[in-house]
């Protein structure tokens, strides 16, 4: 019961703030709403017995990615509170797409046979860590490479002082 209640609470939080992301016209507000969405998802992860992921979600997403984006907002916008108004037709079209998308997705989800509620899994961080360093060593290492590349790439692009001259 608590589970249910918690689920609905966090689900509502997530959904509402996600809608906030869409609806808010101000980029900073959008970012704030996104933060709440991320927090809600993290909470849901806990409900799904994925505490480690929840932590990662909080640390990486809320802590790093979002802050990064906010920095981006600060760097790029002279007036961070400028808002854009989508045109009416654009709005209509997007909404139609969204509704159709959501409807068909839910319809599809409902054809899925509902699996029995999972028993308490024997899940632990240890298990996850083990998997990462054994079975999933390769992706793990590759991701480090990916991050390296990301770093180099981002550094190259955002270093304004370095002259570029290729052609």
């Amino acid at each position: 019961m608590t589970q249910t209640l918690l689920f609905y609470t966090f689900a509502t939080l997530t959904a509402a703030s996600a809608l906030g992301v869409v609806l808010s016209r101000n980029i900073v507000r959008t970012a704030t709403c996104l933060l709440f969405t991320l927090l809600g998802v993290a909470a849901l992860f806990i409900l799904l017995d994925a505490e480690f992921l929840a932590a990662v979600q909080l640390l990486v997403y809320a802590g790093a990615t979002l802050v990064l984006i906010l920095f981006g907002v600060m760097l790029t916008s002279k007036n961070p509170f400028t808002s854009y108004q989508p045109s009416r037709l654009e709005l209509l079209l997007s909404l139609t797409i969204a509704i159709i998308f959501f409807t068909s997705l839910t319809a599809a989800i409902h054809t899925l046979p509902s699996p029995p509620a999972a028993s308490e899994s024997s899940y632990s961080i240890l298990f996850l860590g083990n998997a990462l360093l054994t079975d999933y060593l390769i992706p793990f290492e590759l991701s480090s490479l990916l991050l390296l590349l990301t770093m180099i790439g981002a550094a190259h692009l955002s270093n304004p002082r370095k002259p570029t001259s290729n052609q």
Binding site: S87, L93, I97, F101, T103, S104
Partner: protein, 703 residues
């Protein structure tokens, strides 16, 4: 190779040699050398012909060929050809030589020699003198080869070659637009006829495989009579064009643009008679229906030719129409079964008509290339030899006794008479009588218009004094006239035994025609007997009927020549005075205009044949440049517009949905240049739209 054939082959090839010689050296041979060379060659050719004739007539009894014995028939494969995969054979060329060939060779070489001599005088001031003789030699070769041909294909080759020469010579003075046009017309008209000829040959070959005359005669029975009728008519189409028969006669008067000696040789004596020759050669395989057709065509032709001739004022055109009319007589003769008559008339006509033309040429030469009768008058005083020879020819043509035309025309009319008697006795339709009475009527008309021509040219007061003053004649012009004048009399018809020669030809080829005459379907082949009438008996007119016909002819036409000439003299005694009075009378005037304009045949052709073809041609051209090409190019165009669409779709289609259909409809054109292009958001919008659509449709499908 038997001697006569060798000699005739030599006679044929001599002009070819002359042609080759003149072709390459003609330019260097100044006047009159080119003419003399050509003349020498043709005279040599004439000599060969005479030698061949002698050899032909004096054969040993043991010989299989010779006069009255059999033809010389040689053939060589020319084109390997097979009708079906399993029957390889080949188209052959060769020589078919019988008495008829000899007779015609003699005629052609004689007239040609006369014309050559005449031409040296006539063409002396022409800058292309050598070219004239080059063409002339080529013509002589083609004409002689045509006569020597043993197969229809070979005949067709030379048939077209003489057409080519005719084309070249009609357009000899090509600087004159009218000459150029006339040559075009002549060639095309002949080509039209040749089309039928070609189709006929093709049909024959597709049935028989070989078109040599003996083969045709022996195996024509393999073809069904109806097809054979069709083939006969188709083959005759060639003759219609070449011999200027109705309805393809209109080229001949225009062909008078050619130098006059050419008219004498080609358009009076030889080439135009080739049609008659062809029809005569085909005679055995012509079905009665085909002959009926031929007879009717001949009948029409002889009538309209004579009628139109009465109203013409150009001396050469009068002669041209008279030629048409005379050729009509020959065709009629073939139609009614007077094989000998037709060929006999062919030869006599060749003599007197070439004489007429040469005399006219002499007149024209004397008159400084003036041909209109209205400029002549009284020329008999200045060019008496010409006037006299013209008169002889006139008499010959009118059928005055002791002149050449008398014998041949009488023969034709006798046959026509006996045919109409026969048809009357066999209860054929009434109009069959026309086969006799119309030629008879025209026999009255012929002397009239010829006399008209003579009177207006040679008699009376000169109407153009300037012209009259300069007129004169030279020996080189009148020597050939005299020669031909001699031949236009009794000498030409009886003296050299032409008729006998022709009659022998029948016996020579009879061996081949056995199957035709004995075949049940093909009996009664000798006259134009319609197939739908019952055949009671042998339809070859009996001796008795022939005599009746002879009597009839004697009574009806014996003095026709006199009547016609007298009428002509009376009417034209005072030049144009009396006729002009008569023409005040409207029906006569209308008739005169109608005939003067040659019954409007040219106009009709323009309306119904030339016009439509030209229209079709321009239509096709329009179609090609404005329809077919665009349709094919449409692919390119549509691809290009597709390209615009496709390259636009990035911004166009999506923007339209994004920024509104209204915007789209307002300025569709400027949309492509719209600033809102290349937008990444529209790309993503499209991405999600398609994704959504795909998912939604899949869900709908799977439910």
């Amino acid at each position: 190779m038997p001697l006569p054939s060798t000699l005739l082959l030599l006679a044929t090839l001599l002009p070819l040699g002359s042609f080759t010689l003149l072709l390459f050296t003609g330019k260097r041979l100044s006047y009159p050398l080119a003419g003399i060379v050509a003349t020498a060659f043709i005279i040599a050719s004439f000599a060969c012909t005479i030698a061949a004739m002698i050899a032909w007539l004096n054969v040993t009894p043991a010989s299989v060929w010779g006069a009255g014995k059999g033809p010389i028939f040689l053939s060589l494969p020319w084109l390997p050809f097979s009708l079906t995969p399993n029957h390889p054979s080949s188209l052959t060329v060769g020589i078919y030589l019988d008495s008829l060939t000899i007779a015609l060779f003699a005629m052609v070489t004689t007239v040609a020699a006369a014309v050559h001599v005449f031409s040296i005088g006539y063409m002396r001031h022409d800058p292309r003198f050598h070219r004239y003789f080059t063409y002339l030699s080529l013509f002589c070769f083609s004409m002689l080869a045509l006569l020597l041909s043993s197969t229809l294909i070979e005949l067709l080759v030379f048939w077209e070659l003489v057409g080519l020469c005719s084309y070249l010579l009609i357009g000899f003075w090509f600087e004159k637009r009218s000459a150029a046009n006339a040559s075009l017309k002549a060639f095309l008209t002949n080509r039209l006829g040749d089309l039928g000829f070609l189709i006929g040959i093709s049909l024959l070959i597709s049935h028989l495989g070989n078109t040599s005359f003996p083969h045709l005669w022996t195996s024509a029975t393999e073809i069904s009579p109806n097809t054979l009728t069709l083939i006969g008519i188709l083959l005759f189409t060639g003759a219609i064009a070449k011999s200027a028969q109705f309805p393809l006669h209109t080229w001949l008067p225009d062909a008078m643009e050619a130098p006059t000696p050419i008219s004498a040789l080609i358009h009076a004596a030889t080439m135009v008679a080739a049609g008659v020759y062809l029809t005569a050669r085909l005679f055995p395989i012509l079905t009665p229906d085909a002959k009926l057709f031929i007879a009717i065509i001949g009948l029409i032709t002889l009538t309209i030719g004579a009628l139109i001739a009465t109203a013409q004022t150009d001396i050469k055109r009068i002669l041209a129409y008279s030629t048409i009319s005379q050729l009509g007589y020959m065709m009629l003769a073939i139609g009614v079964g007077s094989w000998v008559g037709a060929l006999f008339h062919l030869i006599t006509h060749a003599f007197f008509k070439s004489l007429l033309f040469l005399a006219a040429g002499s007149v024209i030469h004397a008159a400084g290339h003036e041909q209109e009768l209205s400029h002549f008058g009284g020329l008999a005083r200045k060019i008496p030899v010409t006037a006299a020879t013209f008169a002889i020819a006139l008499l010959a043509m009118s059928g005055a006794p002791f002149f050449a035309g008398y014998y041949s025309k009488e023969l034709i009319l006798t046959h026509a008479a006996s045919f109409s008697l026969l048809s009357a006795s066999q209860s054929a339709p009434r109009w069959y009588a026309l086969f006799f009475y119309l030629p008879v009527a025209i026999a009255y008309l012929t002397p009239f218009y010829m006399t008209r021509c003579w009177m207006l040219t040679f008699h009376g007061r000169p109407r153009n004094l300037h012209l009259f003053a300069r007129a004169r004649e030279t020996w080189i012009l009148y020597v050939p006239l005299i020669l031909l004048a001699v031949l236009s009399t009794w000498v030409g018809a009886k003296g050299i035994g032409i008729r006998e020669l022709i009659e022998r030809s029948i016996t020579e080829s009879n061996a081949y025609c056995q199957s035709l005459t004995s075949h049940p379907n093909f009996s009664a082949f000798s006259t134009a007997w319609p197939a739908n009438l019952p055949i009671d008996q042998d339809l070859t007119p009996s001796q008795q009927l022939m005599e009746q016909g002879h009597m009839l002819t004697q009574t009806r036409v014996a003095y026709a020549w006199l009547a016609g000439i007298l009428l002509g003299i009376l009417l034209y005694l005072r030049g144009f005075l009396i006729p002009n009075l008569l023409l005040k009378f409207p029906p006569l005037r209308w008739l005169h205009i109608w005939l003067y304009r040659a019954m409007y045949f040219d106009e009709l052709y323009h309306l119904f044949l030339v016009g439509p073809v030209l229209i079709a041609s321009h239509l096709a051209n329009f179609l090609d440049t404005h329809v077919i090409d665009p349709i094919v190019n449409l692919t390119a165009t549509s691809i290009r517009s597709l390209a615009n669409l496709a390259s636009l779709n990035d911004e166009f289609v999506i923007d339209a949905s994004a920024t509104g259909i209204a915007h789209l409809s307002q300025n569709l054109g400027s949309l492509s240049r719209s600033p809102q292009t290349g937008r990444i958001r529209t790309y993503i919008l499209l991405l999600f739209t398609l994704l959504t659509l795909a998912i939604a449709s899949t869900i709908l499908l799977l439910y």
